[in-house]
Subunit: 371 residues, 2 copies
DNA sequence: CTGTTAGCGCCTTCAG
DNA sequence: CTGAAGGCGCTAACAG
């Protein structure tokens, strides 16, 4: 609480202010023989009229001096830092890494810089990230990370965002997040339905779901999609077939151990990482994919095609999601015009799914009959 | 040239400065009944003495008002933004994503924010990234990306860095880069030697190398390591066994097509991505790994253990590299004390390497004898 | 220990 | 079309 106001935890024994050997507007003005105002007007791209000659002199002087405007000063004057902050769960997770890349590309094209912060799905950390962004006066915050379902936390977050927005900031969401904000979304429910449906279409009936972290909204929505698809097909939902996959390789791998103990023929993983982990885990137990068990993922990260078994999955254009997110931010920053969008998704059939194996009849007491 | 001085390419038709509904130092000062200076002294963690009572009043007022220091203003006054910029080749590449994560973690612990920029290995883009960082007044630039071997470009870069450093900035390198700067390095030569040596130890003699992009220093160094190991073992270097893998999945996959046309029994890939791509490509041609051909990578990215064949590779602690890099930055920022470091590396044996298959005798004219 | 005084570099009314 | 003046929010001497 209190220390949140103080600056560096690590005692800011700053070794005096850094030197200021920068060339400033005044220097350019001097060399060009005009006033600083004029220089400002031309280098900042202002629409204030400036004579062609003055402009030329300024540009020339600026070039000679290799003048670069000090954005910090500009930011203090304009209350715009030309900076965007993105919050992810983990920058090392390929899902987020691809989104970051997309954001960064477009932000860069518009001369904006991108801050990246990982929350590790921890409420406190997430708040800290947001606070840091606010403190750094970012122009917009992009929520690439799904919301965490925890009322008090969401309230705290909302308060911060409200403040941020009141101050002129923008919040954009790229995932399932309860905070009301424009964003680029894709249909997380539909994506899970599509994955599950694919297995159903193939003839599977005992289908397991490897869920994401409980506390995440996106996990719930995807689990819901799985249930919907099952229900539409008249397949009863069996909670014993839902295992935690934690959206991770290790999680999927661990979950697969539980899966092999069941009579499941198909696995819907809440994301590709989990699916790949599961395939790996299955292989370790001598279970063949897709011969014995089919596995389908969600997201189509780059690695999906290079998994132990090339992964059938539901494609979502992640880099493009990031790009569109950044474009949305730029639009908001320019005209304040909201223009949310939706990304399509589609099935990518590779080799990890197939019709279920011929049904092995299970004897009454659960023992396998002789082969 | 000229436009580099002007601001946003996309016409900065800024819709007026953003509102200023922020609580400032003065507000806190007013409420606490002290001067702004006093507030500044306590919230900035200055070592200037402040009475316990004043301090308490300030802290209390700050909390009530939910005061957050405006870092932009602070930055303008101190010439320190508490901001670090990292340049990578591609933020979506797991190698860089892991490093970014490490940097971000430690930077965050020290209340510094991280800018990320991808150069795509393009000189112009790289310069643009650096210029953007300079303009944003970052306190330090971390070069996670290897240097690009192109004299004019390096000269331009060096000029920018010199300027940056003259101004009080710091440049830290995490890879092979000719610009003289402190950094955390790992032995790229040794890493390639180790990989190659492993294959040699296993009995391989016809060993291919899937190189990284020609223009990168790191590529040259790793290729060199491969040659050294070969040479030490008395195996002649054959340039026909070196293929471009471009440090990418697709590159490795494509390169593997060329490899199968040779009589190679082992492949050293310049990085894991290439290795995984190669394994995939080999599999597509019915070549078994490691039975027919062994493949070893370099880096040990998280996915290495989840490759089509769990990848034997040379481990480098990438996240830790990032963490140490950030620590180095913090040290430089605090005492200006240089304290470079070296990361160790070691072999991780998984399943993609094995002794070469029994030598198939090749008849004089190159045709295979009957099995 | 505290407050007052000047800026940091840039933008932006406002006169001219 | 141009320049002078003031201020963005904070810090850093400098007196007291």
């Amino acid at each position: 609480m209190i220390e949140s106001v103080e600056s560096t935890p690590s005692r800011p024994s700053r070794p005096g202010p850094a030197p200021r050997s920068e060339v400033s507007l005044r220097d350019v003005a001097r060399l060009a023989g005009v006033s600083p105002s004029t220089v400002s007007r031309v280098v900042s791209g202002s629409d204030h009229p400036v004579s062609a000659e003055s402009r030329a002199r300024v540009l020339d002087a600026a070039q000679r001096l290799r003048f670069r405007p000090n954005r910090v000063a500009r930011a203090l004057a304009t209350a715009r830092t030309q900076t965007i902050g993105v919050i992810v769960h983990d920058a090392a997770d390929p899902y987020f890494a691809q989104i970051i890349r997309g954001l960064e590309d477009v932000a860069g094209e518009h001369d904006h810089a991108l801050f990246v912060a990982s929350s590790d799905r921890d409420p406190e950390t997430e708040l800290a990230c947001v606070r840091a962004f606010l403190s750094h006066q970012v122009d917009a915050i992009v929520l690439a990370a799904s919301g965490i379902d925890q009322p008090e936390h969401l309230a705290d977050l909302a308060q911060l965002f409200d403040l941020f927005i009141a101050r002129g900031g923008h919040v954009v969401s790229l995932s399932e997040h309860p905070y009301p904000s424009p964003g680029i979304r894709f249909d997380n429910h539909g994506v899970a339905v599509m994955a599950t449906q694919h297995l159903i279409d193939l003839g599977h009936e005992r289908i397991s779901f490897l869920a994401g972290p409980n506390e995440l909204f996106v996990s719930k929505v995807r689990l819901d999609g799985y249930r919907s698809a099952l229900s539409s097909a008249g397949i009863p939902f069996d909670s014993n077939l839902v295992f935690d996959g934690y959206f991770s390789l290790e999680g999927g791998r661990a979950a697969s151990r539980r899966v092999v103990e069941s009579d499941v023929t198909g696995i819907v993983a809440a994301n590709d990482l989990t699916a790949i982990g599961a395939i790996r885990g299955l292989a370790e137990r001598g279970v063949r994919v897709p011969d014995d068990i089919s596995v389908i993922g969600i997201n189509d990260i780059t690695f999906a095609d290079y998994a132990p078994v090339p992964l059938t999955t539901v494609h979502v254009a992640l880099t493009e999601l990031g790009r569109m997110g950044a474009r949305l931010v730029m639009t908001l920053l320019q005209d304040g015009h909201t223009d949310s969008g939706v990304m399509p998704h589609w099935l990518i059939q590779r080799q990890s799914t197939a019709p279920p194996p011929i049904r092995r009849d299970v004897s009454v007491d659960g023992l396998l009959p002789p082969d």
